[in-house]
Amino acid sequence: MNAPHPAGAWDTRRRGRQQRLERAAALGLARRVEAPRVGELLEAVIEPGDRVCLEGNNQKQADFLSETLADCSPERLHDLHMVQSVLALPSHVDLFERGIASKLDFSFSGPQGGRLARLVQDRQIEIGAIHTYLELFGRYFVDLTPNVCLIAAHAADAAGNLYTGPNTEDTPAIVEATAFKGGIVIAQVNELVDTLPRVDVPADWVDFYVVAPRPNYIEPLFTRDPAQITDVQVLMAMMALKGIYAEYGVKRLNHGIGFDTAAIELLLPTYATELGLKGKICTHWALNPHPTLIPAIESGCVESIHSFGSEVGMENYIAARSDVFFTGADGSMRSNRAFSQTAGLYACDMFIGSTLQMDLAGNSSTATLGRITGFGGAPNMGSDPHGRRHASPAWLKAGREAGGPNAIRGRKLVVQMVETFREHMAPVFVEELDAWKLQESMGMELPPIMIYGDDVTHIVTEEGIANLLLCRTPEEREQAIRGVAGFTPVGMARDRQMVEQLRQRGVIRRAEDLGIDPRRANRDLLAARSIKDLVRWSGGLYAPPARFRNW
């Protein structure tokens, strides 16, 4: 056997770390680094070929450190292997265009998806894999452990303790993996204070910190303006509440981002309460602090919410509702993406989200040609965890629908909620996902499928609900999907007789089958119809960002 370590040398990482710290010390750089000297620091402690974790999710971003790294000399720093949750900022892509980094392992790339695809085609970037968040965090502790991590916190004290504030997000997972495997932790903070409100990261895990010239960027990604919710979305929300939430008694859940699920949140104090569902559904959540959940919280529908991150403008509201949200002794929220994703995977009975395309096996994808967007957390929460062992009524009912009364396990409810056509009459239901063509053009090992069809239990469209748990053959499954695909080419090609039989069996249920009067599918049913309504519901505690204020 070839030993991976030279005889007697078992601490090469530790000694390497020491050499890096000595190079920084030789330049006169101490624990607190002035912003103009951060470039020198990075060139001193990072080595070519290093694995570097750049913190940034779709909320908080270590943007100053990212820009500074992108401005480093490619002669000094090159062939870096970036490991990061989200490729969101222009500087993230600059790293590859400028020849500083060459390899990427990540989860999500939303706004930079087009530039990323071009870099792959031009062979300026090698993608290791596209992950879901928890999967990527897991690999930080196995085979993608960073040599250096660049993180963002709200404040530091002189000793280097960090306060992350409500947006703790990915920081604990990144720091843990780096600091305890001979790596170097560098933090950007918004301010230096004498006494921190609380310590989120202890100073002896942090090697350097810098007060950035401007506060770190935070995207209000989970704010949906109720003014943009349509009557069709209200109809779909009514069907979901009556046909799924009520039937399974779904108490513990996660909602994806989008107007479809925002409509459900805004019907909890009205339609769902009228159906007698208050306290019987939606009491415990793994969820970012969606402003559209404020009316449900204020109406007493919600008991507990653990969050992946925070949401801009929700800080004071959260602090004032500490029975519902997880907060520190200082009063401010503590989020944690790794734990909330774990909660979404194992402790929730339902995930409901949306997608851009779905095929006839129920596979769904947000990949479109010419863009590599990745997955985020959806594949994790939108999957049935075979490691789950505890029962709940919703989980058992779903399991028995799929496997009969003697089923030895339950099923996570994985619901996809879509209108049959997107904007410009692009059909959501398709014979073949664009993901396959993307795989071919990008030379990927797998098509980027967000949620596998065999994990999906229900599909909600304006045409009704398809319950895939009750399908017994692949043909039934295909016709159940066609049966709610409306007037898309896939929907028009349905076998009418078979779809009618599926409807008789309750596999497909239309609004009229659920006793829903279409005249009630109206925005008036929403508990809030504008951002201003949400502010009012919060008693003035919710402070929406300027872009959402139109009064």
């Binding site: 009557d231 009229e512 009067d517 005249r519």
Partner: protein, 104 residues
Amino acid sequence: MEKLEFRFPAQPATPAAGAALCGVVGSGNLEILIRPGDEADTCVVSVKTSARGFGRIWEAVIAEFAARHAAGGTRIAINDMGATPAVVSLRLGQALGEYTGGVQ
């Protein structure tokens, strides 16, 4: 602007009102007026739409509406500003609900 005309057999509707108006003429939306027609078992629909080339989808949406609802004996006029099939189906259901007083 495109004008389309359709006639489909349907179970007779039971009107509760002389006419029903639903929706608004606005981008992505449409306005539907239901009035009594001449034949009790036929639903006659005339569509004026700003989006050209979707005749086949209109035909399918209205055929499905006539098959699923008791909408016979009606004359339906639609002014469309590029509504999706989802919006069209919902508004048709809402207009018929108003016309029949909730009996469908």
